[in-house]
Point group: C2
Chain length 246, copies 2
Amino acid sequence: MAQNIYDQPQFFEGYSRLARSTGGLDAAPEWPVLRAMLPPMKGLRVVDLGCGYGWFCRWAQEQGAAHVLGLDLSEKMLARAREMSRDDAIGETIVYERADLEQLALSAAAFDLVYSSLALHYLKDAGRLFATVHQALVPGGRFVFSTEHPVFMAPSRQGWTQDAEGRRIWPLDRYAMEGPRVTDWLAKGVLKYHRTLATTLNLLIGAAFTIDRVEEFAPTPAQIEAQPALQEELDRPMFLLVSAKR
Amino acid sequence: MAQNIYDQPQFFEGYSRLARSTGGLDAAPEWPVLRAMLPPMKGLRVVDLGCGYGWFCRWAQEQGAAHVLGLDLSEKMLARAREMSRDDAIGETIVYERADLEQLALSAAAFDLVYSSLALHYLKDAGRLFATVHQALVPGGRFVFSTEHPVFMAPSRQGWTQDAEGRRIWPLDRYAMEGPRVTDWLAKGVLKYHRTLATTLNLLIGAAFTIDRVEEFAPTPAQIEAQPALQEELDRPMFLLVSAKR
């Protein structure tokens, strides 16, 4: 079973104060890029793997998705997601369910879109999930996800540093050494799994997906002007975004 | 026109002393990975973009390729390639020709395999070349290439450094800032073009290729034992290898 870090009080409290938790999709700088990778939602049957507060599930519903299944390992996240969703939507178009993505089962050819935002880096075995997602999609269906970029994940010490000339640099090491990475983000001992970019793509291809589009999020000039702290995202990619087709 | 750095005497002399120049394919640590991405060569019509000394062209011939076209911008490289190839092979199965990859034209559906080793990072416009390659392949034909990895290419200062704890790190910056990178490798002012990994893949997809396999070269334990200097290649990827299918 994946580490259920979101149900640890300290982590959950920290997470609930993040801009992307309180502000929803528009507070995530990579959302415009991810959204552009999505098909028109009207009439689609959608799963969100790691739905958190349900921001994407509600957006999909507003966009006319026929049915949205939001899955998360965290009871606290699911409770908040249900609270934040309209009563008449719950059970009608949106269903929130607890699921461990490490052991997920989904009905065959039951969905048009599988979506996941920043959840896959918690999984030790992405290949198993990719196979599950592939069989759950209809032919032509899409798997669109974001995950922490391996360049962000890999280092022994994840954090900016400076070179001898005072230049901001990202201290990359251990890129080819896949496996667990433990960080202290919001709480101590958060466990994620580093995979190279090649591994993620080859696992998708091995699960019979066709790679449609790959993005390494970088902020636009307008985003940097509105939020100067984003400037540093030009120096190393933080998020990997992929669209793959069954 | 691409910079013809290989015909500058200082660069050519430095290049001619590299292990991969004198020792051929087996002296390149990424060759086993690249070779594993290639189809069986028997009977294939092959182009090598940036053929250098013609090591790959001769290997393809030995493997039973029907016809091999080796293209390079450098007259010196082509002269050496012709020298090193058997007289009865030249003009029979191997043809060496001068070509600028920035302005390349190839006959339609004339090839089964287009190969390129460490040449594409000299090109400003990879998209044009990818379209040319796509139309030159038969349906089901392969484009297999290596290029410098964008993580290797991106930094303001390409070279290992150390963090405060004395750990070897690769000083990544400017990853999202695509465009020219001038380095002093073998000669001063060698001009290459940095593209993100996402851009390279999306240009291939945009040219109607299907991504088959992606590799970020890392040495095996046996390679590191035989050549301890390769250890550092585990810390950051130096080469990107791609197989794409028409």
